[in-house]
Amino acid sequence: MSKKIGVFVCHCGTNISATVDVEKVAEEAKKNNPGVSYTTTYKYMCSDPGQKLLRDKIKEEGLDGVVVAACSPKMHEHTFRNAAKKAGMNPYHVEISNLREQCSWVHPDKPTGTEKSIDLVRMMTEKTRKDKSLNPIKVPVTKRALVIGGGIAGIQAALDIADAGHEVIMVEREASIGGHMAQLSETFPTLDCSQCIMTPKMVELAQNENIKLYTWSEIESVDGYLGNFDVKIRKKARSVDLDLCTGCSSCWQVCPSKKIKSEFDMKLGNRTAIYIPFPQAIPSKPVIDREHCLLFKDARKKNIPPNDSKVCRKCLDVCPIAPVKAIDYSQEDEFITEKIGAIIVATGFKELDDTSMYGEYGGGKYQDVITGLQFERLASASGPTEGEIQRPSDGKLPEIIVFIQCVGSRDPAKGCSYCSKTCCMYTAKHTMLYKHKVHDGHAYVFYIDIRCAGKDYEEFWLRAVEEEGATYLRGRVSRIYKKGDKLVVLGADTLTGSVVEIEADMVVLASAMKAQDDAEKFAQKLSIQYNKDKFFSEIHPKLKPVESSSAGIFLAGTCQGPKDIPETVAQAGAAASKVLALLSADELEREPVVAKVDRLPAPIFSTCIGCFYCKRVCPYGAIAEEDIKARDGSVIKTVARVNEGLCQGCGLCAATCRSKSVELAGFNDEQVYAEINSVEFN
């Protein structure tokens, strides 16, 4: 029996109708197509009356197939399928013709756009004719969340989920949680001390019974799917037993390697080889930096197990834990697999710290040209100078300081065209911190534009200018060169049209926020998408800002794009609420786009010939071998079967199958051929 199909053509205001003759499209859809029993056009199909029209017509006209010719299916396929479901139709008999994104917006010529639209609608009409009823697949949910990254985004998300009563696993690759926020001196626009608001949250996380914390650990692999992820975590060899160690500090006090550049202090301070990154670290237990530790260096050189090296065992000797010492040189990487229901990615950003590409700013050669985060460490009470602004080369108090904004941001020539969003505000903050500490000093700022859009932000930077007396110069710096112990900054003030030459003691570059170096590799591990700057992509820029392209994986914080602390915290809370919504259900419904191997009556049972090529290409291990048995238990033949829970619906098996026994629901051969056949060729 042939289907009764209804075609609904949307004007989308004038978005479609301006360049496509929608009436003609509707008319043509009916012509020579006996299956199409109803067509109409409507101003906004996605609006409430539009959806009502769809529901009413399904009932009145007795439709059993619907084509909505509107915007991209990525926008409203779900909307229209839901509407059809409400009208009692199986939602998988609804198809969308993409007339907006892929036609009316890109083809300004009306006859051309109309002709293409007619084709597009016919293609979907023919596909709809072959649509089958499908039912969502139900899968159980593991009620445990994984948070990757222990910065402020991860901490906030983990606390929100844990406080709601669910288990959380947090994985942080550094030795301590805290992230970049723990490095900051004070925060805009309130100038409250970052550590004072950050460290209590870190402690709260460590003490929360619902949170299991893995520091010095990384994600090895993520398998499975929404509600049922299998996450393999690599616990990197810390050389310190976290259960035994009390964090007494004896070991790092005796460590002889004292001149290792501290990553936490942005290389302005030193640390030992066995170390905690900063005094308030959580866990407050050390890690041995195997690259720099004398014992490990010696073991590597002699190619012997580290335990056999006798070069330096000071930390082990001094460790007061008995009878088993907390330090274990022979520790190796350990792998743990956790079952997870939903994942939040909060892996943060990396400051552009390699300024060698900026030849005009000294190419990274001048010690007194530092980055924004380095300035934070100088200004921080827990930093290498205990909060005194001393320039790195000779420890002198800089009397004249120059800040340069947009270093690595808004600079397409350096491959970075976006705005890092936080630098205008943090530079204003830096000028204030500087003036609070060096009262008779003078701060100059070179800027392109001031972008301080945020609550109390505009007022904040005006304070820097009006109350703290920072001199803002609109223009770029063309060159910095050394003259004695001064740095001469040559720049332009485009508002007065003059060249500016400043003899400065120190220069601070407002470095860009970049994606983590391994962001691309990490995204591939999780099968999530990222943009050209390697920031992870949300699935919809406006309406789904925390969902990644993989179901069950959410984004929080700067891994998704530059943002400041309030925004990060808000996004982390949003991601946590999405995870909580998922974990609140016992079962989840999944799209039924899965593969199926045919089953037929005896004596054929299945056309599957049992070559299992499908099993070899399946990326999810979703194909199993099934014995078809006779009554006496003897095996008649072995054929493939798809595990619906594991199948993600890529269709690799269907394309690989030599006997055409595998069908991908929603995209089966009949449907694709119907689409191909319906295109009108010359």
Partner: protein, 159 residues
């Protein structure tokens, strides 16, 4: 259609996650391109049966584009690699059958590359327009394959 200028029809088989979204992005950015393409959306390029392409040519398509995610970016981890491998075998076969390989293109276009989508479409449309209509398949029953100089003279015409 000989009296009007030849306008080729291109069938594009796109993966849902990258190139289809890239084509949407071209729309969102109002980037104009030639209207000769008809898109068929599939979950993954790895799920494209070569017979789909044959069918499109058989129906009269003048050119075909297969486009998916960049290597390493496949939503299904490895689907695009399977597509590439299948493609490497299939393309010489088409060529052997006498179909000019320039009529078929394979590309990687990510969801962020609206501009690349526009360039790809314009380039394949221009290429195929220059090649002229694909008539090889229609005549395949009576003649030999399309030669490098396009369609060979039909045997019925030569004698």
């Amino acid at each position: 259609m000989s009296e009007t200028k030849f306008e080729p029809k291109i069938i594009a088989f796109l993966c849902n996650w990258c190139t289809y979204a890239g084509a949407d992005l071209a729309g969102t950015g109002r980037k104009q391109y030639q209207a000769n393409v008809r898109i068929i959306k599939l979950p993954c390029t790895g799920g494209i049966d070569p017979l789909f392409l044959i069918k499109a040519f058989e129906r009269g398509a003048d050119g075909i584009l297969v486009s998916g995610c960049h290597p390493g970016d496949c939503h299904y981890n490895s689907g695009n690699y399977h597509a590439r491998r299948r493609w490497n075998v299939f393309r010489p076969l088409l060529e052997f059958c006498g179909i000019n390989p320039n009529r078929i293109q394979f590309s990687w276009i990510s969801a962020a590359e609206g501009g690349k989508w526009v360039e790809t479409i314009n380039s394949i449309v221009d290429t195929v327009r220059a090649l002229g209509p694909f008539e090889g398949y229609h005549k395949l029953n009576t003649i030999g394959p399309e030669t490098s100089g396009e369609v060979a003279a039909a045997p019925s015409e030569t004698g």
